[in-house]
Symmetry: C3
Subunit: 211 residues, 3 copies
């Protein structure tokens, strides 16, 4: 019996990742006082953008997000949640960041595994794992005209947990394939790392300056 993560399990991780990223996009749109359409579009771009970029680069065609209606329903569900519950959550300014942290961890791992499964090398798995994880959020912030989170030093280490999670998944995937326990462990540790970096404002070094 193979210990490798089943396609089903990977798919569920992707679904959860799409949903939480969509929530982050929808929450940001609501905070920016966009209307229903803006909320839905930003939810869709954030939830599906990173994975689509990855699939185009690994020539997974058509992209997973277009193979069934389900991935498209997830941003719609996130939109409904935010449209209905906005009054309750609008003051929780950190919600965008928490949902984003969850999506970041999930997509880093699934992105790395899917890149390896497409036959690309470990370097591509790390890069595209991190890209899937960061990409949707970058698109979200560019479209909403915010400084992309990946460039906001005051939000704490952001791309580093994604890159580490993608690296860990790439290493763990070798041999018998990534098992379900390491899969979940890597995601949970990366999420915890990101949340800790956010709360404690861990920062990366800056370019050196002359005194």
């Amino acid at each position: 019996v193979s210990a490798a993560v089943s396609i089903e399990m990977l798919r569920w991780c992707d679904y959860v990742g799409v949903f939480v990223f969509a929530l982050s996009g929808a929450s940001l749109a609501a905070r920016k006082q966009m209307d229903l359409v803006g909320v839905l579009v930003l939810a869709g771009v954030t939830g599906l953008g990173g994975g689509m970029v990855r699939d185009v680069l690994i020539d997974e065609s058509p992209p997973l997000a277009l193979r069934s209606p389900i991935p498209l329903l997830l941003p719609a569900a996130a939109t409904i949640v935010v449209m209905a519950a906005h009054s309750a959550v609008v003051r929780v300014e950190r919600q965008v960041l928490v949902f984003d942290a969850a999506g970041l961890s999930l997509f880093a791992v699934t992105g790395a595994v899917r890149t390896l499964d497409a036959g690309l090398g470990w370097w591509a798995a790390i890069l595209l794992g991190a890209t899937s994880a960061v990409g949707g959020g970058v698109l979200r912030d560019v479209l909403a005209r915010d400084v992309p989170l990946v460039f906001r030093a005051e939000s704490g280490l952001y791309a580093i947990p994604a890159a580490l999670a993608a690296t860990a998944a790439t290493i763990a995937h070798r041999g018998n394939g990534l098992g379900p326990v390491p899969l979940v462990a890597i995601i949970v540790v990366a999420f915890g790392f990101r949340i800790a970096a956010l709360r404690r404002q861990w920062t990366a070094p800056h370019p050196r300056r002359r005194a």
Copy 2:
């Protein structure tokens, strides 16, 4: 005799769509006081960007825009029109929006039909019809550092006519294929809807707030 829209007719709709979107990009560039190169680049990105994103996602390779020189001449023509006639049109601030509305309607329909013809499902046809329609304008606005039209609630319903036109084209395409009369009818209705939404400032609902 098939009632389906010929490849020729679809191509002409795409050409007109590229040209009017290119006009919207060139007009915006002129209003932003860009030079000849800026006008040409923004015309090209707006006219060709949405269709290229769609073609990459449906793995139409190379993208239609690169198969002959004609699609590339259309942004050049739009640039000449705007460079020469700018003085006459610069005060018509709404021109960007009207050209954009025409492109939106044309691309929503051709995008949906091309996605179905590539073998993808109805959900992908609706999403990519709307994406082709909205994508060029989003790229235009991001590059010109404007709030993307799709997020500007005060411009009236924007993505909704695109999504409805893509949905109508997807439904009408089933069976014998989309005939030329429904094709033109859907485009005209979507254009009229968008212009009405613009003039009467129809708006979508906003996320609920506590009183």
Copy 3:
């Protein structure tokens, strides 16, 4: 013996192009006071972005940047250079522009040659040569929330040397293929042209206005 540029030589031009574009991205990130991660991400996007867009559009799969670890090491090297030497170079505000000019010239030529080698027509070679040359810088400026260089008239002619270099490479590639001497000559002339345009502020015409 063929006079055509070897695959090796084209690859080296691409490597140098990636590195200098990565330097331009890293320098801009340093000037914007981003941290290590921001510098690395902006270096990577600027160095690899234009070529990836080109490879996706010509269906070169996987993109060259993902076929070996080397292209990914170049932005890392540029990051180290900028992180260490930032104090020495921070006052040289023009450095972003000079590195950008070098990358512009290199990628215009390699982009055109690679597009022709992929079997696309001369029009696509010119467009995608210019797109590879301009694309990484546009992504850099959009992510760093600057006005894209291609739209900044005060920086002098920008896309024109790229388009001319791509056109020259396309013409020279016909027949026996582009030889190493014309390859280098076109790159050097395009670089000199861009630097001259920058220093002397050569400008393109603006849309006509009524008096």
